[in-house]
Subunit: 189 residues, 2 copies
């Protein structure tokens, strides 16, 4: 509710566009829905859609969770094992997520699993998340290469769990599956 009228209107338009986009994508499929369709449904022009979301994929995948995740990881005790600092934070964040957040995540996963273009962008976002995690853990105590390897592996395990969660209908608590995946990673290696 903060900001001037201009900013509030902008945020509102943005939200409106994304909601119509997600609805249309889920109803008719991502590839069968054009940006022009989304624009028309949201009552704006195609250009306006692209001004708010640089690419069509961003209509589905944009989120602002990375900074939050980075802060939480940074706040963990520095003497704990890396895999725990990363893994536990992810599990806890998932456990605390609201129902609306989980539904959004499930919708994204469903779309991502159904359309290769989205899946690729999803994985690329994960790559960027890896970088964010590495930066959050960089304190001179650990080699950067080590940080990258651990962060990448953890994220891979988490993603595998989330995909499994989505494939089995999104029932149950995803953070339990994620915790299970991280356990496997630890005991296996």
């Amino acid at each position: 509710m903060e900001g001037n009228l201009r900013e509030r209107r902008k945020a509102l338009v943005r939200q409106e566009i994304r909601e119509h986009a997600m609805r249309l994508f889920l109803e008719h499929g991502y590839d069968n829905t054009t940006v022009a369709d989304v624009a028309e449904a949201a009552g704006v022009s195609s250009m306006t859609v692209f001004r708010h979301f640089p690419t069509k994929e961003d209509l589905v995948l944009t989120d602002e969770f990375d900074p939050v995740l980075a802060a939480r990881i940074k706040a963990t005790p520095a003497d704990r094992p890396l895999i725990r600092r990363i893994g536990d934070t992810l599990v806890e964040s998932l456990a605390q997520a609201s129902l609306a957040d989980l539904e959004m995540m499930l919708a994204r996963l469903r779309l991502g699993l159904a359309t290769p273009a989205l899946r690729a962008r999803w994985l690329d976002n994960e790559y960027l998340t890896q970088t964010v995690i590495v930066e959050a853990l960089s304190d001179g105590r650990h080699d950067e290469f080590r940080l990258r390897v651990v962060a990448g592996s953890c994220l891979a395990a988490v993603t595998t769990a989330l995909i499994r969660w989505a494939e089995s209908g999104g029932q149950g608590a995803p953070h339990e599956l994620v915790a299970q995946a991280l356990d496997i990673l630890q005991e296996e290696s």
Copy 2:
């Protein structure tokens, strides 16, 4: 050298197109080179390029290593730890790779690191490789979820090592970096 004249010519055209594509991409950048440019350099029409390579990204990323990798993993002793069956196979394959193969891999990595679209597709290919590895290891002895987690984590570690290799100029033997990443994965968890 086998096959009809038709098949040989087809393979030749395909190779010609890809070589010109890689050359132009490395010279002028991926985004600054259109498929029409590649077609003209190779002496064919744009349509022909798309018939040989479904997307522009495939000009860079297409390879046929997955089946080979799957066969090699399948041939490893079934009583070894999963992480070893996967990791050692990857390290050995890299160690045996020809200089030409390594150069091609380095060129791909360079382009992939420079252009987001390629990086996304690269990561998506990795996801497919994960599936291939899981299938190769499926023998009823292991839970499929476990296989996915381990395969995904190993590939993440390997990719991290290859990126590091490319970022540091492609000097030295990549398989040593990969082995190092896998060691980190094991000792860390």
